[in-house]
């Protein structure tokens, strides 16, 4: 799309973000809070950059809005909600936890649990298949199980 080429080439590109010093909040603590909020918000016209990292016009506007609202005493979630309401889930670099993202957020746990189950299965099979020569390395229960299987097992 021409529009996108145009935007990506002129407005954005990997940002040469040298921002306007006048946009910064004089209070260092508030400025730090604004940065933390800004790093969670996606620059809509750039790809995978937060508004803090981008020199796109829109990112600059959003940075200003975040700082205004932080300076006005709004809470972090209130500021994030303000942007979220206008730009939807896409603007949040940390996807909101809801039904549609449940699988995403569950990935670490699912991968870990699945892996553990797999390892358990593999260990059982290995214990069952193990050659008798290594029996002295097995625990008593494993040895007992092996003894039971030693007769006919042959996969």
């Amino acid at each position: 799309m021409i529009r996108w080429l145009f935007l990506l080439l002129l407005a954005c590109g990997p940002a040469w973000a040298v921002n306007d010093p006048a946009d910064q909040l004089p209070d260092a603590r508030l400025e730090e809070r604004a940065r933390v909020i800004g790093r969670e918000l996606r620059c809509m016209v750039c790809q995978n950059q937060s508004i803090e990292d981008s020199d796109a016009d829109l990112a600059r506007d959003l940075r200003r809005i975040v700082r205004e609202q932080v300076a006005a005493g709004k809470s972090d979630t209130a500021v994030t909600d303000f942007v979220h309401q206008r730009y939807g889930d896409f603007v949040l670099l940390r996807p909101p936890l809801k039904l549609a993202t449940a699988l995403l957020w569950a990935t670490p746990a699912v991968a870990l649990l699945g892996g553990l189950l797999l390892i358990r299965g593999m260990r059982r099979r290995r214990a069952a298949d193990a050659a008798p020569e290594s029996a002295e390395e097995l625990s008593a229960t494993e040895r007992a199980r092996l003894a039971k299987l030693a007769g006919g097992h042959n996969e």
Partner: protein, 191 residues
């Protein structure tokens, strides 16, 4: 075979799992590629968060010299659906979509305009050169109204129904195809 040993069937299904996952992913990728070809899947398009919600209220100054009244949120509610178009003189695709806006104006569609981050004299020059399709026209130099609408580039066009609810948004230039295939039916539906 004892209970502790997974059955060959379970093992086989486990060994088949990678193929299954790869097949599902492959099908998905294929659907994406097909969708990109037909336009149903666009990795770059972002839907508006405002769809089905009341259009945000605003009040913008008029463009001096354009001979059109100023634009406010109340102008979006009325006896027919309206199109709200964000444009700028510095935006190349805006030139591409302009003839379609002019066509709509001639067909009696209510097209409202907001000049986004543009010097008034530049906007004026743009409209003098290409024609003025807008019934009412607001100037949003700081771009704050645009942010209330979740705009992420120009041109962008919103369709607002009689009740003032945002029904449709198009990011990018309105081509003759978009006009014929999307806007015209929508205008009929919400008339």
């Amino acid at each position: 075979m004892s209970e502790a040993v997974p059955s060959p069937w379970r093992r086989r299904s486990l060994l088949l799992a990678p193929v299954a996952v790869a097949a599902v992913a492959g099908t998905g990728f294929y659907a994406m590629l097909r969708g990109m070809g037909t336009g149903t899947y666009d990795p770059r398009g972002v839907p508006s968060a405002l769809l089905g919600k009341p259009a945000p209220d605003f009040s913008l100054p008029a463009l001096e010299g354009a001979e059109r009244p100023a634009l406010g949120g109340t102008d979006l509610r009325g006896d027919r659906p309206v199109l709200l178009n964000f444009f700028a003189s510095w935006c190349v695709p805006c030139v591409i979509e302009h003839p379609q806006l002019m066509t709509m104006m001639r067909d009696g569609v209510a097209v409202l305009g907001i000049a986004y981050k543009d010097k008034p004299e530049d906007s004026l020059g743009f409209l003098r050169r290409h024609g003025n399709p807008f019934a009412k026209l607001g100037v949003d130099q700081p771009g704050r109204v645009a942010i209330d609408y979740g705009l992420y580039g120009v041109p962008e066009t919103y369709l607002v129904d009689k009740g003032g609810v945002v029904r449709w948004r198009w990011a990018g230039p309105i081509t003759p195809e978009i006009l014929a295939q999307q806007i015209t039916p929508l205008l009929k539906r919400f008339a």
